[in-house]
Assembly symmetry: C2
Homo-oligomer: 142 residues x 2
DNA sequence: GTCAATGCAAATTGTTTGCAAACGT
DNA sequence: ACGTTTGCAAACAATTTGCATTGAC
């Protein structure tokens, strides 16, 4: 299970008629090794620090591919910056974002998942993906 | 109730030491008269058609103000474009977005609202705002 | 008349694209 | 050797900002 993503990745590349390159591989591995939410620059800085040369252009092009094949997911907050996170062997979850610290906490609620499925179904739709973010503040103890 | 937003608006302006101008007023009125989700250009086109001159700069500056004082809300989808909608005397709701047509359907679920409140509370947080979007596709009848 | 608001155009920022050089097969 | 990928720099698009002019009070 730990290695199967490599085969999946190679299959995805084949399906798109793309070649296996060090940059593509390194970006994929970045997500396997790093849990959390990163923007394009985060990824480039990390890879550069690890002596892997990769440009913005290639990073964005690869991220699109990874999103398309469900290796990671994209989210855009109100600041307009796209952030990406690992989706490989990580279960689905949603996000609580602390508006003071920026800390991101993951949560999952099967009840909510079920209710929203039903809401969509009632209107004649099926859910392809969803975004559920709670912007929160620590409760003060006063 | 229909007019109270004007007083609220004037109070907000006073609180920010800002003047009541035709541009600010017109953008506020735009939201009162138009239900739906609009980006900056939509608003400018509408106002221009109605013989009101307003620039991008002013529109963005005013939208920030309206969001800050809860006259409207901002949402940014994966395309990175900010869309705004009326929040005055319109009840809270979330969004289903058809990925084929772009159509936006509103929904509300008190159960979900309650569950998410509890999730936040359990982690010691209170919800300031939230984003809940279902990206959907029409169910085909095959 | 004073100081803030506006509109314009320039600047900024995140992302995308065209193209010559480098790389995978 | 071939066609693809890369990195760079230029192009783009949404948003923000600086500044001279206009407008609210």
């Amino acid at each position: 299970m730990k290695e199967s993503y490599m085969n999946d990745f190679k299959e995805a590349l084949k399906k798109e008629n793309l070649k296996f390159t060090n940059q593509r591989y390194s970006i994929l591995k970045f997500f396997v090794n790093n849990d959390g939410h990163y923007d394009c620059d985060d990824i480039i800085h990390y890879l550069t620090k690890n002596k892997i040369k990769v440009s913005k252009a290639t990073t964005y092009r690869t991220l699109d591919l990874l999103v398309k094949y469900n290796f990671c997911s994209k989210m855009v907050l109100d600041d307009g910056i796209a952030r990406y996170e690992n989706k490989i062997d990580s279960n689905h979850h949603d996000h609580m974002i602390c508006i003071d610290t920026g800390k991101i906490i993951e949560f999952i609620s099967p009840e909510i998942e079920e209710i929203q499925e039903n809401i969509a179904k009632e209107k004649g739709y099926e859910i392809i993906k969803h975004v559920h973010q709670l912007f929160v503040k620590k409760i003060s103890k006063n």
